[in-house]
């Protein structure tokens, strides 16, 4: 805090400087964000024009009936999706982030940043390992963890049994704050669904079920262009996934409803993004004829359905699954594909990842940079998807336990760095981006908790 030696005025000057810098940031941010959002909407509109399909239209009655009958098995439908393309893919988004710039070089605190050799060129403040160790203290070596201390070789009396008992108590008392603290050490599989619901304040009241049914009837009555994008995304990603293909139908049921859920618009008040707008035909530019499109303001990108897929392992009632996903989205996932300076925003996560790697594995970082394999190019897709589809499901759920427990996505960046650290030896030997990608292509055998623990607490820095 205030350093008595340096004097109050110096501290104030620093603070003013920082504020000045950040307002410049936010100006640039707004510009960058505005450009990106325009670009996405333009892409959507042009697809709409090319294909001659309206963004939204009412469904004819017989089609409504058909869809209602097929509601539980939309996966068996085979609409022709060949002309649809995802509006954007993570790598498009990365290009945008790479081009974010801050011309303010005078700020003294940027000195260290001048040596930053990663792709992100925005000097946001990110934590270093000592700070992360403090923040994630419950992951320390002396503290029991699920994902480590529940393996077959460890007798359950050592940690697991007691941890389960505590979890049951937390659930019995319906203590949301206690639950959040508790899950930092991982959720027992049998308790996870209820613990997450408790933390996210999802109670599945009759009015919630009714709300979901209302959304469902919106889907039946109106056809949106984004529906085809959702179909395509599910068919391209989850349907081909070893773990999630089983839940294909649930994904349609959740995502089609999600697109129509205007309550999701509320998150834009604390997100720095703006929902895309469209205009009633013939009324372009007239604000009174502007509507948010899609109704929830979220245009899905390639891989979006993978935010929902892991949740299907926990919740098998569609309305509950829906609510959990919606809450996860408005609390966490939206930050992974919108531009902001928030500590859990994708820009900060990228910077955190690059800084950790450059600071603690400089040799590896420089080597990869030399061979044209900037680490973020490989890890970006993991971050945007919160590792869904890259880790084995049980490991992913252990990771998402900690996201909920710490109410932060920073752990994703730490894990990404830990993965590089784990495969450092092999990575040092590659000589191309493609070869580096190959070394990191298969994360399905990784155990996330040991990796995180070693990286944070057992690496000599």
């Amino acid at each position: 805090m205030l350093d008595p030696d340096s004097g109050l005025s110096l501290t104030i000057a620093r603070i003013v400087q920082r504020l000045k810098g950040s307002s410049l940031h936010s100006q640039l941010e707004r510009q960058a964000r505005g450009n990106w959002e325009k670009r996405i909407l333009k892409s959507l509109n042009s697809m709409c024009t090319e294909l001659g399909i309206p963004l939204a239209q009412k469904r004819p009655v017989n089609e409504q009936k058909e869809l209602l009958n097929k509601w539980n098995e939309m996966g068996t439908d085979e609409p022709d999706l060949s002309l649809f393309r995802p509006v954007y893919a993570p790598k498009d988004f990365l290009e945008v982030l790479m081009n974010l710039r801050n011309p303010n070089y005078e700020n003294g605190e940027q000195l260290s940043f001048r040596n930053h050799l990663g792709l992100i060129q925005v000097p946001l403040k990110v934590k270093d390992i000592p700070e992360l160790k403090e923040d994630f203290s419950e992951l320390g070596l002396n503290i029991g963890q699920l994902g480590i201390d529940d393996s077959a070789q460890v007798p359950p009396e050592f940690f697991e049994n007691e941890h389960v008992r505590v979890g049951q108590k937390v659930l019995a008392e319906q203590d949301s704050a206690a639950a959040q603290q508790y899950v930092r050490q991982g959720c027992p599989t049998a308790l996870r669904a209820d613990l997450w619901a408790l933390i996210l304040n999802i109670s599945n009241q009759p009015e919630d079920i009714l709300y979901y049914e209302q959304l469902k009837s919106n889907v039946i009555q109106h056809d949106l262009l984004v529906d085809s994008l959702i179909y395509k995304d599910v068919k391209l990603t989850a349907s081909n996934d070893d773990y999630y293909f089983v839940f294909e139908d649930y994904l349609y049921q959740v995502l089609l409803c999600f697109s129509r859920d205007t309550s999701v618009l509320e998150h834009f008040t604390y997100s720095s993004a703006t929902p895309p707008k469209s205009y009633i035909r013939g009324k372009l530019g007239m604000e009174e004829y502007a509507v948010f499109y899609p109704p929830n303001g979220v245009i899905p990108f390639h891989g979006f359905s993978m935010y929902v897929a892991p949740l299907c392992f926990l919740y098998h009632e569609p309305s509950r699954l829906y609510q959990i996903f919606r809450e996860m989205y408005v609390r966490f996932f939206f930050r992974l594909h919108s531009i902001s300076s928030h500590a859990s925003g994708i820009v900060s996560l990228c910077l955190l990842f690059e800084t950790l790697l450059q600071t603690h594995l400089p040799q590896l970082f420089y080597h990869l940079r030399e061979i044209g394999a900037q680490p973020l190019r490989i890890s970006f897709k993991w971050l945007v998807r919160a590792f869904s589809g890259y880790l084995a499901t049980d490991q992913l759920l252990l990771l998402w336990d900690r996201i909920l427990g710490y109410n932060s996505l920073e752990i994703l960046a730490v894990l990404a760095a830990a993965v590089f650290a784990f495969r450092a030896v092999n990575l040092m030997e590659v000589t191309s981006l493609a070869a580096a990608e190959a070394v990191l292509a298969d994360l399905s055998t990784l155990k996330v908790m040991p990796l995180l623990q070693i990286f944070l607490f057992a690496t000599v820095t």
Binding site: N72, E73, T76, D150, T189, A190, S239, D242, V246
Partner: protein, 393 residues
């Protein structure tokens, strides 16, 4: 001086041949001197038939028991179970129950695997009609060509993601008396690609009700990446997360129990030839009360690979099987005690070891762990008060 193992195979599959070659074994023809013969079930019948009077020597091993059909043909399994049940409890409920509740009856021609010749009929009257039409005079035909057995088919299967599935588990038996069997930890679920609806009009759609991969492959939705298959550890994670740990453990315990009981039932009538081992494919279906049901046992589980993952799994399955059946990959000596050291089990776990169970006494119960099936089951006593084999409906 130990020479190289000479091998023959009737089944030309890469997962087999690659395993033989990686051990440096030498391929020979069937009429030459051989040490290891991976036979088809037709061959094993000939080898052990009374007419040929074939005698295997001590350095020869084959992959089937001569009368495996006591287990793998449903009508005989039924017979053996019945006898076994009588021995255990002196109970007399017949297996092929006449059910007037409109329960689906599953007709499968015995001796025809891979889903060919499988069809479904609802209502007993339809079965009778079919029986009459097909010139068989009773429900359980003893005709040598094809015997059709009615097994009860459940209409409340557990659905995941709205889809029906069955479970394929691999079990290796090295000896029946004393019974020593191993369960492969990496079994899988086979999902139906088309939605399950129990309406009668769907009965004609074979794809809906049947999950055998061989039929699924030609269904419209077949996917070449995952092949509609899930690992057993995925199943366990899903069930623990949605149903709880205790009921999931109970399910897997019951599955192990069913398998052991089926083997114990046929053990007395099996020709426990010392030259033989066998790797069975068990097909199990789970109902929505998390109760497992045995559908059938295959003596020749398919070694065709439908996906890359599949190929790896089956390759490792054969590898681990050979490590147990042919110790050290050397020329076998059938007089050995068939007790491999723990290190060579690979992905197999001891399911039941009669010798060890008898010397040890009461239950040895390993903890159930996520992703791993439980280990040795001792002489399990069911004291719930229910008849021992109610699962054998």
């Amino acid at each position: 001086m130990a020479g190289k193992v000479m091998w023959v195979t009737d089944i030309e599959k890469s997962v087999l041949i690659n395993n033989f070659e990686k051990r440096g074994w030498i391929q020979v023809a069937e009429n030459e001197d051989w040490n290891f013969y991976w036979m088809s079930v037709q061959t094993i019948r000939n080898v052990f038939s009374v007419e040929t009077g074939y005698r295997l020597s001590d350095d020869q091993i084959v992959n089937h028991f001569p009368n495996h059909y006591e287990l793998t043909r449903k009508d005989l399994m039924v017979k053996n179970i019945k006898r076994y049940r009588k021995e255990l409890e002196k109970e007399g409920s017949p297996l092929a129950e006449k059910d007037e509740n409109g329960k689906y009856i599953y007709l499968e021609p015995c001796g025809k695997a891979q889903g060919k010749g499988i069809f479904l009929i609802n209502k007993l009257s339809q079965i009778k009609k079919w029986s009459r039409d097909s010139k068989t005079s009773s429900f359980v035909s003893q005709s040598s060509k094809e015997a059709y057995v009615i097994s009860l088919y459940i209409n409340n299967p557990l659905l995941i993601g709205g889809k029906k599935f069955d479970l394929r588990l691999y079990v290796l038996v090295s000896t029946y008396r004393p019974l020593r069997c191993y369960m492969y930890k990496l079994g899988f679920c086979r999902f139906c690609t088309v939605k399950y609806t129990p309406s009668t009009s769907e009965l004609d759609n074979m794809f809906v009700h049947l999950t055998n991969v061989a039929i699924q492959k030609h269904g419209d939705d077949y996917n070449h990446i995952h092949g509609g298959k899930w690992t057993v550890s995925n199943l366990r994670l899903y069930l623990e997360s949605t149903r709880g740990k205790e009921v999931t453990n109970k399910l897997f315990d019951e599955i192990h129990w069913i398998i052991v009981q089926s083997l114990k039932a046929v053990a007395p009538v099996m020709n426990n030839d010392k030259h033989c081992f066998e790797c069975y494919g068990y097909d199990i279906i789970i109902d929505d009360k998390l109760k497992p049901w045995l559908i059938e046992v295959n003596a020749s589980p398919s070694l065709t690979s439908s996906t890359a993952n599949d190929r790896i799994l089956k390759y490792n399955l054969i590898n681990d099987t050979l490590n147990i059946a042919v110790p050290n990959g050397e020329i076998p000596d059938c007089k050995w005690n068939k007790s491999p050291p723990k290190e060579v089990l690979g992905n197999y776990e001891v399911l039941y070891d009669e010798e060890m169970a008898q010397s040890d006494g009461p239950d040895r119960d390993l903890r159930s762990r996520s992703g791993q099936s439980t280990g040795v089951k001792g002489n399990r006593a069911r004291d719930s008060g229910k008849p021992v084999l109610t699962t054998w409906k």
